[in-house]
C-alpha cells in the first residue's frame, strides 16, 4: 500500500467569524482578518497555493474558536512533504511554550513550523508574507508571529466538549492570541499614532476613566449619606401624647366638639351623660371624616363610611368603630392621652379611662 497524505485544495470561511485574529496568526498567507470578518486572500483561492500550506491551514482551522474555517482535501501519493520539517522544528524548540497546561506534556511539542522553510516553498512563502495590512496603508511586510503554544495543545487541555469561548479564554490565557492588546496598542493601531502619542492618549483615557469612576463613587457616597440622614430621625423630641382639653363645663350639652380636630385629631363627644375622646381617623383607610351635625353622623369623604355620634360604624366599608382615647380628670381639667386607645370590638369601651361620667 502506497503511502498517501491529504493536501488542502480549497479553503473557505463559513459565516460566524468573530474576528479574533487567530487564523491570521497561524497562517497569514491564506487568511486576511478584516474589520468585520476574516477572508481568504484572493491568491489563496488556488489549490497550488493552499496545498503546501496544508498544515498551517489545518492548524488555523483547529485554532479557530468558533470553527468556521472549512476546507476540502485531496489524497496525494507519497509522504507528507512537510513531515520532516515539522519534526525538525519540534526538535529545534523542544521546550517552547510549555504553558499549555496538561496537554503540553502529552504532545511532542508545538506543531508550528519554525526555522528555515523547505526551500521548495520558500519563494512562495516570502511573496505571500508580503501583503496589504489591515489598516489599508499600502503593502507592508508582516512578520509571522511565532506562536509559543499551538491551538491544538491548548484545545487538548480542555475537555472535548468545551464551548468555543472557553477555548478563546484558554488561548488568551496562554498568550496564544491577544484579542485586544493594551489600550495604547489598540489606539496606535487604529489611529496610526506613534508609540509616544498613543501612550499619551492612553494616559488621557485613563485619567478620564478615573474621573468617571470617581464621580460614580462620589455620587454613591453622597446618596448614601443622604439616605442615612433621611433614615435617622432629625426630631428626637416627640410631641407629648396627652393634652389638656379644658373643663367639663366647656362641654355643656350633648354634641360633638371639634376644637381639637385640627390640632390633636380628636373629637370630644358628650352623649347621654358620658364624655369621651374619639379619634378622627377613619377605621377604613385613615381619612378624616366630617361631622355632619344635621344628619348626626360622621361621614368619611373617601369611601363613604358613616359613624354614629358614639363612633360606631353603620354604613360604608369601615370595618370597626372609631377608636377612643384615654380621657381622665386632673383636678377639674380634662386630660386626653392619645397613647392609650380603647377599641369597641375588643370590648374596651366602658373600661375606666375610656369615658368620663358627667
Amino acid at each position: 500500500m502506497a503511502e498517501t497524505h491529504q493536501e488542502i485544495v480549497k479553503v473557505w470561511i463559513a459565516p460566524g467569524c468573530i474576528v479574533c485574529d487567530a487564523c491570521e496568526g497561524e497562517c497569514p498567507e491564506v487568511f486576511d482578518v478584516q474589520e468585520e470578518t476574516c477572508v481568504i486572500r484572493p491568491e489563496a483561492m488556488k489549490a497550488e497555493f493552499t496545498r503546501p500550506l496544508t498544515p498551517a491551514i489545518i492548524a488555523a482551522a483547529e485554532g479557530c474558536p468558533v470553527e468556521v474555517i472549512k476546507y476540502e482535501t485531496i489524497e496525494v501519493e507519497g509522504p507528507e512533504p512537510w513531515a520532516g520539517q515539522e519534526e525538525a522544528a519540534a526538535a529545534a524548540a523542544p521546550a517552547a511554550g510549555g504553558g499549555g497546561g496538561g496537554g503540553a506534556a502529552k504532545k511532542a511539542g508545538p506543531v508550528i513550523p519554525e526555522g528555515p522553510p523547505d526551500p521548495k516553498w520558500a519563494g512562495l512563502l516570502s511573496t505571500a508574507r508580503v501583503s496589504g495590512s489591515r489598516s489599508g496603508g499600502g503593502p507592508a511586510v508582516r512578520t509571522v508571529p511565532v506562536a509559543k503554544v499551538s491551538a491544538e495543545i491548548i484545545a487538548s487541555a480542555l475537555p472535548g466538549d468545551a464551548p468555543p469561548d472557553a477555548k478563546v479564554a484558554a488561548m488568551v490565557g496562554t498568550g496564544y492570541i491577544r484579542p485586544g492588546g493594551s489600550v495604547a496598542q489598540r489606539i496606535r493601531e487604529r489611529a496610526g499614532l506613534t508609540r509616544r502619542e498613543a501612550t499619551s492618549v492612553a494616559a488621557g483615557t485613563a485619567a478620564l476613566l478615573t474621573i468617571a469612576w470617581g464621580s460614580v463613587a462620589a455620587t454613591l457616597a453622597t446618596m448614601g449619606g443622604a439616605l442615612q440622614s433621611y433614615l435617622v430621625p432629625k426630631l428626637t423630641k416627640e410631641p407629648p401624647s396627652s393634652f389638656k382639653a379644658g373643663k367639663i363645663s366647656d362641654y355643656p350639652d350633648d354634641g360633638v366638639y371639634e376644637q381639637f380636630k385640627g390640632s390633636q385629631q380628636v373629637w370630644i363627644v358628650r352623649q347621654k351623660g358620658r364624655l369621651f375622646a374619639l379619634s378622627t381617623i377613619c377605621t377604613h383607610l385613615g381619612c378624616i371624616p366630617n361631622w355632619m351635625a344635621a344628619d348626626a353622623k360622621f361621614k368619611c369623604p373617601c369611601h363613604g363610611s358613616g359613624f354614629y355620634m358614639d363612633g360606631v360604624n353603620f354604613e360604608g366599608p369601615a370595618p370597626r368603630p372609631l377608636e377612643r382615647f384615654k380621657i381622665s380628670l386632673e383636678g377639674d381639667t380634662i386630660v386626653v392621652d392619645k397613647a392609650v386607645k380603647y377599641r369597641a370590638e375588643l370590648n374596651q369601651w366602658g373600661l375606666p379611662g375610656s369615658e368620663l361620667m358627667v
Binding site: 385640627g262 377604613h284 368619611c300 369623604p301 369611601h303 354604613e315 366599608p317 370595618p319
Partner: protein, 376 residues
C-alpha cells in the same frame, strides 16, 4: 371661546330636557347601570364585533358618543363642571383612546376571523412591517417626541395643574379623590377592606399580569389579531380591564360626589344628601335574620359562615372548575398553570360578586374579624 359657546348652547337648550336628565340620573346608579347597561354593552361588544367594527357603524357610534358626551355639557352645568375640571380631562382622553384601541383591535380581528374561515391568508401575512432603525424608527420617534412635548406644553398652559391650599387635617376636601388613574381602586375600596382592595387585589392584578405569559402558552393569536380563536382569554381580560377598571374609574371620577355618595351625571353635588347606606355583615344576616339568634361571642364561631364561604370560593371552586366546566383547559394547562389562573380568576370574580351582594343584600363583609384586622 369654548366655554362661551357652551354657555350659549346652554341658554338655547331650554329646561324641557329635565325629564332626560332625570332619567339619566336615575339610570346611572351602579346597581342599575352596571347590570342593565355596561354588562349588556360588554356582551354586545364581544358578540357583535363583526358588525360594530365596520367603519361606518363605528363612526356613527363615535358621533353618537360625542353628541351625548360633549353635547350634555351644554344642557347641564353640573355635568359641565365635572367634565371640564382639569383633573378629569385625562378621563375624556382615556375614554376616546380606549374606544379607539378597542375598535382597532376588534376590526382587525373581525377581518382576520373572516379570512381564517374562508381559508385566506391573514392581514398580517402579506405585509412586512419591518423598518430600519435608522432613519425610519428614529425619525418616527423624533416626531412623536415633538408632538408629545407640544401637547403636554399646550395642555399644561391651557389647563393649569389643580394645586390646592396646604393640607388641613381639620377640613379635608369632600369628596377626597385619588388621582384619576387610581379611582378604580378607590371605587373598589367602597366594597372591601383596605387590606383587600389596597393590597391583595392590586397585588393580584400585578401577579396576574406577570403570570399571564407563563400561563397562556397558546400560540394562537401570536402576531395577528383574532377573537374567534381566543374567546376565553380576550373576554376575561376585557372584563377585568373595561368593567372592573375603566368603568370604575368613570364612576369614581364623574359619579362620586361629597361623602363618596353616588350622584347622577346631571345631579347637583349636595354635601348633605341623605343616602341610606346601612350595611350588614354576613354573620349578622346568618345569625340574626336566618337563625334569629344573638351573635355568638366567639368571633370565629360568629364568622363561621363567611369563613367557610371564602374557603369554598377560593380553594374549592378552582378545583371544582377543573373537574367540570374547565376540564379541557385543566388538561391543556396542567395543574400548576391552571390553578394559578383559576385562583386569579375567582379572586377577580369576587369584586363583581361583592358588588352585587352589596346592592341586593347590603352585604358589608363576608368575614368581619376586626379583632384581628381581617375583613373580606
Amino acid at each position: 371661546m369654548l366655554s362661551s359657546m357652551i354657555t350659549l348652547a346652554a341658554a338655547a337648550g331650554s329646561s324641557n330636557l329635565e325629564w332626560f336628565k332625570e332619567l339619566v340620573n336615575r339610570f346611572s346608579v351602579p346597581e342599575i347601570s352596571l347590570p342593565l347597561f355596561f354588562l349588556p354593552l360588554f356582551v354586545l361588544l364581544l358578540v357583535a364585533y363583526k358588525v360594530w367594527t365596520r367603519p361606518l357603524f363605528a363612526g356613527t357610534l363615535l358621533v353618537l358618543f360625542c353628541v351625548f358626551y360633549f353635547g350634555s355639557m351644554a344642557i347641564d352645568e353640573n355635568y359641565r363642571a365635572i367634565v371640564m375640571k382639569p383633573d378629569n380631562v385625562p378621563i375624556t382622553m382615556m375614554l376616546l383612546g380606549v374606544g379607539f384601541c378597542l375598535w382597532w383591535g376588534f376590526r382587525q380581528a373581525a377581518i382576520n376571523d373572516e379570512r381564517i374561515k374562508a381559508g385566506q391568508p391573514l392581514i398580517e401575512e402579506d405585509k412586512d412591517d419591518k423598518v430600519l432603525v435608522w432613519p425610519d424608527l428614529v425619525y418616527t420617534e423624533l416626531i412623536c417626541m415633538v408632538i408629545a412635548a407640544t401637547v403636554l406644553i399646550v395642555w399644561s398652559v391651557l389647563l393649569p395643574a389643580p394645586l390646592e391650599s396646604p393640607a388641613n387635617p381639620a377640613g379635608p376636601p369632600n369628596p377626597s379623590k385619588a388621582p384619576w388613574y387610581f379611582l378604580g381602586l378607590q371605587e373598589m375600596l367602597v366594597y372591601f377592606d383596605p387590606w383587600m382592595a389596597g393590597v391583595v387585589l392590586p397585588g393580584m392584578i400585578i401577579t396576574g399580569l406577570i403570570a399571564m405569559p407563563y400561563i397562556d402558552t397558546n400560540p394562537k393569536g401570536n402576531g395577528y389579531y383574532t377573537f374567534a380563536q381566543r374567546k376565553f382569554a380576550i373576554t376575561v381580560w376585557l372584563f377585568g380591564f373595561l368593567i372592573l377598571w375603566v368603568v370604575l374609574i368613570v364612576f369614581g371620577t364623574f359619579l362620586r360626589g361629597p361623602n363618596w355618595n353616588f350622584f347622577g351625571p346631571f345631579q347637583y353635588w349636595d354635601a348633605h344628601l341623605q343616602v341610606p347606606l346601612t350595611n350588614v355583615n354576613l354573620s349578622e344576616l346568618f345569625w340574626g335574620d336566618l337563625l334569629d339568634r344573638p351573635l355568638p361571642a366567639n368571633p370565629y364561631v360568629r364568622e363561621i359562615v363567611g369563613i367557610v364561604f371564602v374557603f369554598l370560593w377560593i380553594c374549592v371552586l378552582p378545583y371544582a372548575l377543573a373537574r367540570t366546566v374547565m376540564r379541557k383547559m385543566y388538561e391543556q394547562l396542567g395543574s400548576v398553570r391552571f390553578y394559578v389562573m383559576a385562583i386569579h380568576l375567582v379572586v377577580m370574580a369576587m369584586l363583581p360578586l361583592k358588588m352585587v351582594l352589596r346592592w341586593t343584600m347590603h352585604l358589608k363583609y363576608f368575614v368581619n374579624l376586626p379583632e384581628i384586622n381581617l375583613n373580606l
